[in-house]
Amino acid sequence: MVKVKNQVPALMVFFLISAAQLGVGVLGFQSVINKYAGHDAWISVIVAGLGFNIIIWIMYRILQNNDGAEIVSIHKFTYGKWLGGILSFIFSMYLILTSVVVLRTYIEIIQVWMFPYVKVWALLLLLIPLIYYIISGEFRIIVGVCFFGVLYPFFLIFTLFYPLKYSNLTNILPILDHSFTEILQSSSLAIFSFMGVSTLLVFYPFIRESRKSQKFAHIGNIYTTFLYVFICLVSYIYYNQSELQYILWATLGLWKIIEMPFLARFEYVGIATLFFSILPNVALYLWASTRSLHNLFGISHKKIAVFLLVIVYIACIITGGREFISFINNMTGKIGGILLFGYIPILFLINLIRRKVKRNAS
């Protein structure tokens, strides 16, 4: 069991969930999710957000039914030692994959927008110790990083009012011009931006009065949904749909129009600021993965952290190129969708049956 000293207040779940969700997706999800629903894709974001509220609810049911255990012990209890272990292992591999995707995509943005000639392996040498510095410590540190990761980039919202001057409201009209299926299809593409909630399955035991924390988890998810919808709406009235086809990072594009008396171009500041949003993202995923592997194999937390960081380091170096990065982004989104919307409800049901059976047997 986690000691009370290492636990964090229930309110912090809000920051954990938001920080886990707000990552690299914020920068370019607009031109991905409009594939089916076009200018109505912002509704898809709302739908996806609501969907995730349901998933969070199911997750809390699973976690509370098992008296605050985390995913590894739930798996062990539900499927037995071997099958459960394999599933936990797959789950932690998925978490590593996500952290690699987030980190690599951010580095790609740096390469494209800031330093085309940067040596990725060297830049990573700067980031890896920082991540280790965060995840090797207590859980409190990760929560702190998440806290600042939500709070500090918050002011970026205000920059989004600036492009409105150059926007046409007609770009998103008429509302609901697409069929419900199209909106749902687009929602499935938006999952990538939300799937950070899966870390909840790991950090749940670290929450003080964890039962009370459910509402903060929902609020966190609603907050992210609100942010995504807002960004999406601004982008969709700033760009028209045919223009968006050619645009990779629409949010950065929004910043390109901002001009202040002391700052001619905002996107460079924006990219640097978003580092504070990427960092908790990567750190939380990696911490969750480390923690699950620690629970699974019983090897010391720090050793696993070092090992995983080596994996992340190598993975980030060998991957590259727009096409591949967008491929792993899509793939991770799909895996995340299957895991969260397919597997979690199944786990919930099997776990429920398993508990019933066990109770009857005893």
């Binding site: 171009r265 460079y268 990219i271």
Partner: protein
């Protein structure tokens, strides 16, 4: 027989000790021959107060004819005089400022009278934390004076003073002060335990203790606040914090503390809350400005010229056209110049120091711009940054702020704005990990406590300050209840 033998041994020891003492050039002994007896008196001239000796001891011994040392005790109007048997202890006592009086007797005993010479500074006005309004007293080097300065402000029986001695050689007096019933017992215990665990031969100043008991020794951030103002100590004691007094140091340590406390001047409490809050915000802005402006200058001029507005472009470029160095070298040279000026100013006597400051600031600055070694824009920026770092009320934090600019500069040179961001992230995580006496250092920002924000970035009026800061876990949270007033 036995008695005689022991007496002889004692006599021998005494003579040995005397012989040893005579080797010291400031040992003085007298012998007074009276009718019935002879009295011997000795002391170290540099350790005692000669005035007291001449006033209270010598007349008695010269005029009276004593037979026994016990009579002498009664006649000398000085407390804590003691009779000892062991001549081997004499040496140690003499060093501490005792005078010994000896009579050849049946049973030889030595009367020790303490008249140590203690020269202390007068209580003066605070120099480091000077404030125009408010009390003008500052701590001095004497621990008893310092404790008195606090005690007269908090004259309550709950004021708890725990004294101990630290340092195998110096045996410095250290006092841990807290208010019982308000201060968290665990905090007090932690402080006492840590001070007891200190293994040092010397404790010359409170900063020795600070470095010895701090939570993270490798951090450039001070984790205990030090102050020279007795009024500030009184105020934080009533907040539930713990103060550490060290003999010989005019600075008193406070713990547990938080980052924001280092940026609050005590003057803030003497001004109206709106003004105080505004000044505090200006001070915080100055700190951020001071840390970030030179790195940002380097980052923008080295990597991101796109960020410069077109109206500023000409000024920035033409100021640099004559400069042969890249921005980073230029910045480091100027920053080092400022550091040199500061160091030189600090080492020299205050009058010359001022001159050096002016000469350095004006002559070197103007000359280097005219020679084309630095750009005048950067000169302004660096000077403003230095100015900003001096607004920090706590001197030690000011040092930290000046220091952390240098890694930021290097990162800015290599990775531009992103480098600045990464370096700030490092500092942020470091601050998150820091604790002060085991309490989080970044409180009330993280862990987030709304109630403690009342006295963090801004200072709300006193009627909103009815709760003690939660960061120190006070035993009594409410500052005062109705019953307190009724009493």
């Amino acid at each position: 027989m036995k008695k005689k033998a022991s007496k002889r041994k004692k006599q021998r020891d005494f003579e040995n000790t005397l012989a040893e003492l005579v080797k010291k050039d400031d040992f003085i002994d007298y012998q007074f021959e009276h009718n019935d007896s002879s009295i011997c008196l000795g002391y170290l001239k540099s350790a005692i107060d000669t005035e007291k000796l001449e006033k209270y001891i010598l007349p008695q011994i010269q005029q009276n004819d004593y037979i026994d040392l016990n009579e002498v005790i009664n006649d000398i109007p000085i407390t804590k005089s003691q009779l000892i048997d062991d001549p081997n202890k004499l040496h140690e006592k003499l060093i501490q400022g005792y005078v010994f009086i000896y009579m050849e007797n049946v049973n030889p005993q030595y009367l020790l009278v303490p008249i140590p010479l203690i020269k202390t500074r007068q209580v003066d006005i605070p120099e480091v934390e000077f404030s125009v309004v408010g009390p003008k007293e500052a701590f001095v080097e004497n621990i008893d004076t310092n404790l008195n300065l606090v005690r007269k402000r908090i004259a309550v029986p709950e004021l708890n003073i725990e004294k101990m001695k630290v340092g195998t050689v110096t045996k410095t007096k250290v006092a841990v002060v807290s208010i019982e019933g308000i201060a968290d017992k665990e905090n007090v215990r932690t402080v006492i335990q840590r001070i007891k665990d200190v293994q040092m031969d010397q404790v010359i100043d409170s900063s020795y203790i600070q470095q010895a008991i701090t939570d993270n020794q490798n951090s450039p951030f001070p984790q205990l606040l030090d102050t020279e103002r007795p009024d500030r100590i009184a105020a934080v004691l009533t907040e539930g914090k713990v103060a550490i007094f060290v003999d010989g140091s005019p600075h008193v340590l406070i713990g547990p503390t938080t980052l924001v406390e280092f940026f609050s001047a005590f003057e803030d409490y003497f001004l109206n809350w709106t003004l105080a809050s505004a000044f505090r915000l200006i001070r915080l802005f100055a700190v951020f400005f001071s840390i970030l402006i030179t790195p940002l200058y380097v980052a923008v001029l080295t990597h991101h010229f796109e960020l410069i507005p077109k109206t500023l472009l000409g000024t920035l470029v033409s100021s640099r056209t004559q400069v042969p160095f890249p921005p980073i070298l230029e910045a480091i040279i100027l920053e080092l110049t400022i550091e040199l000026l500061r160091e030189a100013g600090a080492r020299l006597p205050s009058k010359i120091g001022q001159t050096i400051g002016i000469v350095g600031g004006i002559v070197i600055g103007t000359a280097s711009v005219e020679a084309g070694l630095t750009s005048n824009v950067l000169l302004i920026i660096v000077a403003l940054a230095a100015l900003g770092s001096f607004t920090t009320p706590v001197y030690q934090m000011g040092n930290t702020i000046r220091l952390i600019r240098f890694p930021l500069l290097v990162f800015a040179h290599i990775y531009g704005i992103l480098g600045v961001g990464i370096c700030i992230a490092y500092i942020m995580v470091h601050l998150l990990k820091l604790t002060s006496l085991g309490r989080p250092f970044l409180e009330p920002i993280f862990p987030f406590r709304l109630t403690d924000l009342k006295d963090a970035f801004i200072r709300l009026p006193f009627d909103k300050q009815n709760k003690r800061p939660f960061a120190v876990r006070p035993e009594k949270v409410l500052r005062s209840t109705k019953q307190d007033y009724d009493k």
